[in-house]
């Protein structure tokens, strides 16, 4: 028997759009040995997931394989019949999806979904499989492995669910697992646990894996070899070490250099200046549940304050207090030294104008039924009272600023824009109000790295031109390094630490800041191993239980 487990040769895939078939994958070759982990990286739309699914002989609706073969252990999955494929899928090839929360059936307990595969394929009896599930949960360091399987998916955290999904993929001891961005939706600290768990279990069982991601630092930890895709074509492939140290192609180099964008930090603040925004002992709660406790920080003119923390730390709630969507129960928000009414409905038009917001999901932030021109024109008309030709002139000017020429984009609908372009329209809408202060809520987290960098550069440039102040909410510390002047670290609704960026990134830190900082994946392939050794294995599991409490 040869050493090769999976061989994809000259794979071509087409997708249907607007009544015609467009090529998505234009001839990919791929080879995977037993027990090997291959990283597939590229921007969204590069065809990573399509290749991943094709490796199982599967295509989404409206997508077809036109040429090439997918040889899994001697069987061509492109030509295999449905019953033949069914015998392989789940048993010898398994799949871990990006969103475990969306992939588990919410109506069944975890363990019941876990045993389905083994029982159906006749690998184990139900009782054996349940016992095995508990052992797997233990290996993946899930808290309470005896009991966690008897919970429903909504009763466990996202990171745990992702690990339960990995356990489920392992249930039949497959030869190949396809991981499709398994950690993209998770916080940095949770991501580490999942990565460590996945790597361990893949090592232990000698399972081969295809690891799909857009995060280079993550793939560096996981993969033996890396293949870079761009628009359905292979850019290059090499072993992880070689790829990181000597990328050959220009495109790969550009991917690698994204993380190097950094703007110079501004000089320290003059203490006597009035801050644009000041939060003074703000407390807030949703119903009876308090979410913010005595939060205070200042944001000065022309500066960027990054608010960092995991999900649930209260950073978005602080933004809602500033905008007035959630009136604080206690404490005040000041704009230019004047206290703002707590509820946005009681603020004046001018006060509303001064504070603008850019949203994380550009998809939901733009009305899908309005053209780009209309979206940007509305605040111009509403706040500035411009009409007709003057309004159009101002909109054109704004569209120039976000580098989307009006001649081409004015009449387009949001659905006809890419993610990055949508985010730019969101920025233009905020700028149209000519505000002093803009809240950027995770504005780059849904974007590819190259695109995200473009957005960050644009924001930095606009800040210099227009003397804007930003409150930059993020959980990505690489972004903080790139753009922030000051940093506020939040946890459980409290400000843990704050100060200029330079101070925050040099030790000593608050222990939590330290945890956050050390959890950001680095490009060094040995980073995860070192980190886990430093922290000690058991710690990682404890962190998960901490978070549940």
């Amino acid at each position: 028997m040869s050493d090769t487990l999976l061989r994809i040769s000259n794979l071509k895939i087409e997708g249907r759009s607007d009544e015609t078939w467009m090529p998505i994958i234009k001839g990919i070759d791929l080879e995977l040995k037993k027990g090997e982990v291959l990283g597939l990286i590229g921007e969204s739309g590069a065809g990573k997931s399509t290749v991943g699914l094709a490796a199982m002989g599967y295509t989404r609706d409206g997508v077809r394989i036109t040429d090439g073969e997918v040889l899994f252990d001697g069987v061509d999955l492109v030509k295999a019949s449905l019953p033949d494929k069914r015998a392989l899928l789940g048993k010898r090839i398994a799949y871990v999806a990006q969103s475990a929360a969306a992939s588990f059936n919410p109506a069944h307990k975890l363990i019941n979904q876990h045993v389905e595969g083994p029982v159906r394929h006749g690998v184990m009896s139900r009782a054996e499989s349940e016992e095995d599930a508990i052992r797997l949960y233990e290996r993946l360091r899930l808290p309470n492995p005896q009991e966690i399987g008897f919970r429903y998916p909504h009763q466990v955290s996202g990171g745990q669910l992702q690990r339960a999904m990995t356990a489920m993929a392992m249930s039949c001891r497959p030869d190949l697992i396809i991981f499709d961005e398994p950690t993209t939706a998770l916080d940095v600290t949770t991501q580490i646990e999942v990565l460590a768990a996945i790597r361990d279990i893949v090592d232990q069982f000698g399972t081969a894996a295809i690891y799909i991601t857009h995060d280079l630092a993550v793939v560096a930890q996981m993969a033996d070899r890396i293949k870079v895709l761009l628009r359905g074509e292979e850019v290059e492939e090499a072993s992880t070490k070689e790829m990181l140290s000597h990328p050959k192609e220009e495109y790969t180099k550009s991917l690698w250099s994204v993380r190097s964008f950094k703007r110079p930090a501004k000089p320290a603040i003059q203490t006597d200046a009035t801050p644009v925004i000041r939060l003074k002992d703000v407390n807030a709660s949703y119903g009876q549940t308090p979410v913010l406790h005595d939060v205070s920080f200042d944001i000065h003119e022309g500066r960027t304050v990054a608010v960092v923390g995991e999900s649930g730390s209260g950073k978005s709630t602080a933004a809602r207090c500033i905008t007035g969507l959630l009136p604080p129960t206690n404490g005040t928000v000041e704009l230019d030294g004047e206290a703002l009414p707590a509820d946005f409905r009681r603020r004046s038009k001018d006060q509303l104008r001064q504070i603008q917001m850019i949203y994380q999901m550009a998809d939901t932030a733009l009305n899908p039924r309005k053209s780009v021109g209309e979206i940007i024109a509305r605040p111009v008309e509403f706040y500035m009272g411009l009409k007709g030709r003057e309004k159009r002139k101002r909109v054109d000017q704004l569209m120039d600023q976000i580098e989307l020429p009006a001649s081409e984009f004015y009449d387009r609908l949001p659905s006809e824009l890419s993610g990055g372009q949508k985010q730019r329209v969101g920025i233009a809408r905020a700028l149209a109000a000519e505000p002093k202060f803009i809240i950027c809520d995770e504005v780059t987290s849904a974007l590819d790295q190259l695109v995200a960098e473009g957005i960050l550069k644009l924001l930095a440039q606009l800040q210099d031109e227009l003397k804007l102040s930003y409150m930059f909410i993020t959980h990505d510390l690489a972004t903080v390094r790139a753009i922030a002047d000051d940093v506020v670290v939040m946890k459980d609704g409290r400000v843990i630490e704050q100060g200029p960026k330079a101070d925050m990134f040099t030790p000593p830190h608050h222990p939590y800041t330290d945890l956050l900082l050390s959890s950001v994946p680095e490009m060094d392939p040995d980073w995860l191993t070192k980190l886990l050794e430093e922290r000690g294995r058991d710690n990682v599991g404890d962190m998960a239980t901490d978070k549940m409490a």
Partner: protein, 390 residues
């Protein structure tokens, strides 16, 4: 019992045949994926289709199957007319309408054609109809067809009813009365139900609670019985003034149907209100009118339009039903529901004289045709608007 066994036995035989045929196809075609991966149910479907088709051909040549032949002929004429209409639309008109016609399926162009014909009938009823809608003639119970040999009369192409009113005239005027009133009712229902539904979605809280509970109460009463009850009261108020009764009927049906619209508008509105762009508009300081009509409404058009198509048909059927029961549109106004009621007993002659049975079927067919046409058009609009989003 025996028949049932025959049917089950026949179906099983078909299943066996389809299995054999699939096997045969697999062998002959050299195991092509089309046949190899074909589930048995699909093969069964093909075989059943062939059998049904053969049955249709056989039925066509039976002397008694007059209605079946009429139906098939009508279907063929519809397809040809729809095709011709689409061809016409593709060659004449502005760039936009030409493009719309190019993308249109046959069903939608048929729907448009029917609606267009109905609209022309309704608007120009006075010009198109050969006689007045209340005009009474000597010849009663003339059969349709206009051929004296089969009991027709060239002066009355579609025949006359029991008291000698020309049916073609009354069908044309019926379009004006029935469709016009249904249209007004449905517009009113959407205006009231839609606005209140969006209002409840935007405000939430107590306003939402009060409105929703009122709607729940109204919906708890069976709608036709509720309408009957209210119409009885209304007829006492209207007294001898017939037009007033019609106005009351519009208001009553609009009220009852607006509850359904309210529920939909509220549900759709609630899912839109949580979007970030609504939050952005609120934070901009926009007023309620702008929020509802400029931000929410454009995103709710697809489901509302689908509801409009259905609602229109229901309203239309309710009016016909009320007229059928004698408390809807009052004589001498022509109305399709009343026509069906007046001529209903002729359906008993279907076995002996298909032409006599056609008398009530013409009005019923007019109702059915419009219902189908509206739904075809709405389906297509929905498809188009959902296609735009992707």
């Amino acid at each position: 019992m025996i028949t049932l066994l025959w049917i089950i036995g026949g179906l099983l035989a078909l299943l066996a045949i389809s299995w054999v045929l699939r096997k045969l196809a697999q062998v002959v075609s050299g195991n092509k994926p089309l046949f190899r991966d074909m589930p048995l149910a699909v093969a069964f479907g093909y075989v059943l289709g062939v059998v049904v088709l053969a049955f249709g051909v056989w039925l066509w040549f039976q002397p008694n199957a007059v209605f079946f032949r009429w139906f098939v002929q009508g279907l063929a004429i519809s397809v040809v007319a729809a095709y011709a209409f689409r061809l016409l639309g593709r060659t004449i008109g502005t760039k936009a309408t030409k493009k719309a016609f190019r993308q249109m399926p046959l069903t939608a162009s048929f729907g448009f054609l029917v609606i267009l014909i109905y609209a022309i009938c309704a608007i120009f009823a006075g010009v198109l109809a050969p006689y007045g809608q209340a005009e009474v003639f000597q010849n009663v119970n003339v059969l349709p067809g206009g051929n004296p040999a089969t009991g027709g009369d060239p002066a009355h192409l579609l025949g006359t009813d029991q008291i000698g009113r020309d049916l073609l005239t009354r069908l044309i005027y019926g379009a004006q009365n029935t469709v016009g009133i249904a249209f007004a009712t449905v517009c009113l229902a959407f205006l009231v139900g839609g606005s209140l539904g969006f209002l409840a979605a935007v405000f939430g809280g107590w306003l939402d609670n009060i409105l929703s509970r009122i709607v729940d109460v109204l919906m708890a009463i069976p709608s036709l019985i509720f309408a009957l009850l209210l119409m009885t009261i209304a007829s006492a108020w209207a007294g001898s003034q017939q037009w007033l009764l019609t106005v009351y009927m519009v208001l009553i049906i609009a009220l009852i149907d607006s509850t359904r619209v309210f529920r939909l508008a509220r549900a759709v509105g609630q899912s839109i209100v949580v979007m970030d762009y609504i939050e952005a508009a609120k934070l901009r300081g926009e007023g309620l009118g702008y929020l509802i009509f400029r931000e929410i409404l454009p995103n709710a058009t697809a489901p509302l339009l689908a509801e409009l198509g259905l609602r229109f048909c229901f309203v239309f059927l309710t009016i016909s039903a009320l007229s059928f029961l004698g408390i809807g549109i009052q004589p001498p106004l022509a109305d399709w529901g009343t026509m069906v009621r007046d001529l209903a007993q002729f359906i008993n002659f279907a076995a002996f004289s298909p032409l006599a049975a056609a008398l009530p079927l013409m009005a019923a067919g007019a109702i059915a045709l419009l219902t189908v046409a509206v739904n075809f058009v709405v389906d297509w609009m929905l498809h188009k608007s959902s296609g735009l989003k992707e």
